[in-house]
């Protein structure tokens, strides 16, 4: 049952040391503000799950919050490497990072299976490549009708899903539009959830009869954080700040400048900075 609360309270009560956390977003609606709050609250030993870990996971890893990463593509889209992720994997800084590596198809199916209450997902994949050699969680199932050998992966069942969406109403019903990624599945697959939104409205806007809505009784914490996806984007609110993704390459390349930037821009700040970041873009949301 949804509770509308502050970001600090939501993270305090939903995200604990050692939790498995899925902060999803497929380049769209990435929950950066919530990620910063997790860093401020100095969570430790998290297992992070995400198909496409990018800047916010780079920050969580560089700040030492993460002991394991479950992922399928870890980079700075259109720019290059995630230097903090690489430093952790290649040099064990700030400490060793365990990897569980999958393909997009595997994780998308694993979230879907988690949302569907199944113990595993089956799909046609992982044929011939080396990933099954380095990931023991990839197994095989035989179709009882055709004899075809299919790939199987365990369903994802995170302790917490953290997502950002455009809108929630005052009951806590959450509406998502545009590039949907796996956010709906991540929330439905998780034990708990934190949803930040651009705005909390009296009435969700009229869309189609088949709008993508998470009913209030499927989410736990709803927090209004305008700009909360920056530098990612919120369809209908503000565009992706591509320039910041490029700047991040320089900010994150070396440890000291990274730590300095995090101190100044995350540790010493609060969620309110996100609204300022996007003010110049913000377009009237219909």
């Amino acid at each position: 049952m949804a509770r509308i609360t502050s970001l600090a309270e939501a993270v305090q009560s939903a995200v604990h040391d050692g939790d498995t956390v899925a902060m999803e977003g497929f380049t769209h609606l990435i929950p950066h503000a919530a990620g910063h709050e997790i860093i401020r609250q100095a969570r430790k030993k998290l297992t992070l799950i995400r198909m496409t870990p990018d800047l916010i996971y780079d920050q969580l890893i560089g700040m030492g919050c993460v002991s394991k990463l479950v992922f399928s593509w870890g980079g700075n889209p259109g720019v290059g490497s995630l230097h903090r992720l690489r430093d952790a994997v290649e040099n064990g800084w700030p400490h060793k990072l365990e990897l569980e590596e999958h393909s997009h198809a595997a994780l998308a199916n694993a979230y879907e299976a988690g949302a569907a209450g199944l113990p595993c997902a089956i799909f046609r994949g992982y044929i011939g490549g080396d990933l099954p050699r380095v990931n023991s969680r990839i197994k095989r199932v035989i179709c009882p009708f055709t004899g075809e050998e299919l790939a199987a992966v365990p369903a994802l069942r995170p302790d917490v899903a953290v997502i950002h969406a455009q809108r929630a109403d005052r009951a806590g019903n959450v509406m998502i539009e545009g590039v949907l990624g796996v956010q709906k599945e991540a929330v439905l697959a998780s034990k708990r959830s934190v949803v930040t939104v651009e705005e909390i409205v009296d009435e969700l806007p009229e869309r189609s009869l088949n709008a993508i809505v998470l009913p209030h009784w499927t989410v736990d914490h709803v927090v209004e954080v305008p700009g909360g996806a920056f530098p990612s984007y919120a369809q209908g609110y503000y565009p992706r700040t591509n320039s910041f993704y490029k700047e991040w390459d320089a900010i994150s390349r070396e440890r000291e400048p990274f730590l300095g930037w995090m101190k100044e821009n995350v540790l010493m700040k609060g969620p309110e900075v996100f609204a300022q970041q996007v003010r110049k873009f913000r377009v009237a949301a219909e």
Binding site: F26, T27, H28, M51, T52, F71, S72, W73, G74, G75, P77, G78, V79, S81, L82, L85, R86, V89, E90, E101, S103, H104, A105, A108, N109, Y111, E112, F123, R124, G125, Y126, I127, G128, G129, D130, L131, V134, E148, E149, G178, V179, L180, G181, V182, K184, E185, Y233, Q235, P239, R240, T241, N242, S243, Y245
Partner: protein, 256 residues
């Protein structure tokens, strides 16, 4: 008109390989440029799909990320990522998939995972993303990669996605029914699998490129087809449309 870069030649050669009725799974970067160049020139009806879920998108500028708003706003519709990988990719609806990578071998197997060993890599690369299943689910695969001894290697450090595996019928032997890599387009030449050995073989050399250059940038003893053509140079129209596309994209990204 011969004033163009090897990258432009590579992109334009890749665009030419696409047909008006193709359904194409597009990645970021060069494939995105090639696919949209095709759409803006000879293939106006081509269906472009990005793994973020956008079906039939017609971006006016090239996306920096696979899920830019531009892709969604100009799409016929946008589906969830699980649906994309289940109904659309695994469903066998994609005719052409584009791939690239950090390393490729003579059978067009690709590595986008690590340089060095997996457990203590010299370079940790972003990883496979959609590639492992794109490589086996799409009707055929086009690969775009600039050639160098570092990227065109005798042996991959890690097989992220398969091409023709170890050649001959080894791909089909894994139960894979799709064609795999039918074209490898580089900054120097175009390669296609030998009908029998499935080794990627030079079928066309870009204007002004020598066999010595090709061999100097390939980590194995590269094979040539019996008849090797010269790639027609970019037409003024192809270059103009491609450069306009890049210019529009640059302006839009500087605005952001």
């Amino acid at each position: 008109m011969t004033d163009y870069t090897p990258n432009e030649m590579m992109t334009i050669a890749a665009a030419r390989a696409l047909k008006d009725d193709d359904v194409c799974f597009v990645g970021i970067g060069m494939p995105s440029a090639a696919a949209n160049l095709a759409r803006l020139t000879h293939a106006p009806n081509i269906t472009l799909i990005y793994e973020s879920g956008t079906l039939g998108t017609k971006p006016n500028i090239l996306p920096l990320s696979i899920g830019d708003g531009e892709l969604c706003e100009t799409a016929l519709t946008t589906v969830s990522v699980p649906e994309m990988f289940r109904y659309w990719l695994q469903g066998g609806r994609i005719k052409v998939g584009f791939l690239g990578g950090a390393q490729i071998d003579r059978f067009a197997n690709l590595n986008t995972t690590v340089v060095g060993s997996y457990d203590s890599p010299k370079v940790r690369l972003p990883g496979g993303g959609g590639a492992p299943e794109i490589a086996t689910s799409c009707g055929e695969i086009f690969i775009i990669m600039a050639q160098s001894k570092r990227s065109f290697v005798e042996k991959l450090d890690f097989v992220t996605s398969i091409g023709h595996v170890s050649g001959h019928d080894s791909r089909a032997g894994l139960g894979v029914q799709t064609k795999g890599p039918t074209k490898l387009i580089t900054d120097l030449a175009q390669l296609e699998p030998d009908p029998v050995t499935k080794e990627m073989t030079v079928v066309s050399i870009h204007p002004g490129v020598t066999r010595e250059q090709i061999e100097g940038n390939t980590g194995w003893k590269i094979a040539y087809a019996a008849k090797v053509a010269e790639t027609p140079p970019p037409s003024p129209h192809e270059l103009e449309v491609l450069r306009d596309l890049h210019a529009r994209t640059r302006r839009a990204q500087e605005a952001a």
